[in-house]
């Protein structure tokens, strides 16, 4: 215990711990929205767009996080708008953005001659490089996500239950969905920084899926998702320090393990 507290007195470790704790407790709630709105393909596309953003940031001399933070939410809103304007199906839009982003990312990285270790950092995350500003960004986004669920609880619930019904009730469905896309985009960009593009689901998706297997209501789904996200991120952090492993991969492993256990416990009853 004393050893752990001593470790937390080191700024790099403290920033990493706080980043994982806040992201696990707050951003994980978005998994409930992803599953309920069937946005699996969208979040996968946003991970690819995040790669492009990170590549653009590094190539242009900014930080990878800043690039992803600008590009991912922009793309998440653009996809909805362009899909409607050009009458693309959701699958076509995600295919277009996914392939285009990946191609753009590799071309940019090759052109700018970004070192291989930095490129690896985009894929696997580099949480020990988290600065105080990064932690504040995670905190602000986490607070916005919680606030969105508190303020728009019934509106989000109506949209997730049945979009047509929500429209008939007068709920501003498009605004709610655009808001969710925007938050999801920002969360993917942040998670990219924490655990890398390949492991974003450990924070954003798996806790939500596990929560939906137990929950009987929307509120309990959000709370359980937050709990599972916290366990995955903090648990992964502790395991990583204890056994000298990568933090992102450890959090992803704990998150996957949680989902596996929840699937076993709720087999035959789960909905996600």
């Amino acid at each position: 215990m004393t050893e752990a507290l001593e470790l937390l007195s080191i700024p790099v470790i403290r920033h990493a711990f706080l980043g994982m704790l806040i992201a696990g407790a707050t951003l994980s709630t978005l998994g409930v929205v992803i599953v309920s709105l069937h946005l699996m393909a969208l979040r996968f596309t946003l991970m690819h767009v995040g790669l492009l953003g990170a590549a653009a940031g590094m190539s242009l001399g900014f930080s990878a996080t800043a690039g992803a933070f600008v590009l991912v939410p922009t793309a998440s809103v653009l996809m909805g708008t362009l899909g409607q304007r050009f009458r693309f199906t959701a699958s076509s839009m995600t295919g277009f953005f996914m392939t285009g982003s990946l191609a753009g990312a590799f071309l940019l990285l090759a052109r700018a001659g970004v070192p291989a270790m930095d490129v690896f950092g985009i894929f696997a995350g580099n949480i020990l490089m988290l600065t105080r500003v990064d932690v504040v960004m995670v905190g602000v986004l986490g607070a916005v996500v919680v606030l969105a669920f508190v303020v728009g609880y019934r509106e989000i619930q109506a949209v997730l239950l049945d979009r047509d019904l929500a429209l008939a009730l007068g709920v501003p469905v498009e605004a709610v969905i655009a808001g969710m896309f925007l938050l999801l985009g920002a969360a993917v960009a942040i998670a990219l920084r924490l655990v890398g593009a390949l492991l974003v689901d450990a924070i954003i998706l798996l806790p939500g899926i596990a929560a939906l297997r137990f929950a009987r209501g929307f509120g309990s789904a959000l709370l359980l998702s937050s709990l599972f996200g916290t366990i995955a991120c903090v648990g992964g952090f502790v395991v990583a320090l204890q056994f000298d492993l990568p933090i992102g991969a450890s959090a992803a492993a704990v998150s996957s393990g949680l989902l596996g256990v929840s699937a076993l416990v709720t087999r035959g009853k789960g909905r996600s």
């Binding site: 409930v32 599953v35 309920s36 069937h38 303020v151 728009g152 019934r154 509106e155 619930q157 109506a158 997730l160 239950l161 049945d162 047509d164 019904l165 429209l167 008939a168 009730l169 007068g170 709920v171 939906l212 929950a215 009987r216 209501g217 929307f218 309990s220 789904a221 909905r271 996600s272």
Partner: protein
């Protein structure tokens, strides 16, 4: 709130205006019109069936009345107010109860009571104004009215089709509607559940006098409407 208070609250008083008036409405999606100069008047207090095969425009008609689809030409008026702009449409939606087609269970966990409570959205709560104790009492009494009070805390997805339609009906009723729109409410239900639901809807209509528009494939479920109209070929026959 007691059951008697709720019934009193829900009962619609006679109203001089038509509940619904469509005049020479042309509407559709893209360049393809579903209706061509369709006219329909609905007196207050009636229960009317709109029959027609798939693609005849039954759901489009409901979308027009709900203000979710704007007519290319012609006018739509609800309870005497023409739907010209967003304010008119919002006004109408507050007075309309809508029972959508039965849905397969969603991934969202939601209790029956919470799903019914959503029917009060815009009526008594919205952004930054949360549901009150009275809202929850209305939900409880309305669930009792449709015969599923004991299912209030059950997950909606675990209900049978007939029970889910009763919950949908309760959600429409908690809005205290003047006009009730039902989109093929008995589809996918077995015969027994169809008969029970039709009986319940007719009983509630006799008691509450809410103008009710039911779109349906046919009359097999045992409907007894005050008036029946048939949609076909972009037009309407009484």
């Amino acid at each position: 709130m007691s059951s008697a208070d709720l019934l009193n609250d829900l009962t619609v008083r006679p109203h001089p205006d038509d509940a619904l008036c469509l005049q020479a409405v042309t509407a559709g999606y893209g360049s393809q019109p579903v209706f061509d100069r369709l006219s329909l008047q609905l007196q207050c207090g009636r229960i009317v069936g709109v029959l027609g095969p798939n693609g005849a425009g039954k759901t489009t008609l409901l979308r027009l009345v709900l203000g979710l689809l704007a007519p290319v030409s012609g006018t739509v008026a609800v309870l005497g107010r023409e739907l010209r702009n967003d304010a008119d449409r919002a006004w109408a939606r507050l007075r309309i109860g809508y029972v959508p087609q039965i849905q397969s269970p969603t991934a969202l966990p939601i209790t029956v009571a919470d799903s019914v409570l959503l029917g009060r959205w815009g009526r008594s709560f919205r952004f930054l104004k949360r549901p009150s104790r009275e809202d929850r009492e209305v939900v409880h009494e309305t669930l009792a009215l449709v015969g599923i009070a004991e299912l209030a805390e059950r997950d909606l997805a675990t209900l049978s089709g007939g029970q889910r339609q009763r919950a949908a009906l309760a959600r429409a009723l908690v809005r205290r509607p003047r006009l009730l729109l039902m989109d093929e409410p008995t589809t996918y239900l077995d015969r027994e559940a169809q008969r029970e639901l039709v009986h319940l809807i007719e009983r509630l209509h006799q008691r509450l006098h809410i103008t009710t528009l039911v779109v349906t494939h046919g009359l097999e479920a045992g409907w007894r409407f005050d008036r029946t109209v048939r949609l076909s070929g972009g037009g309407l026959d009484d």
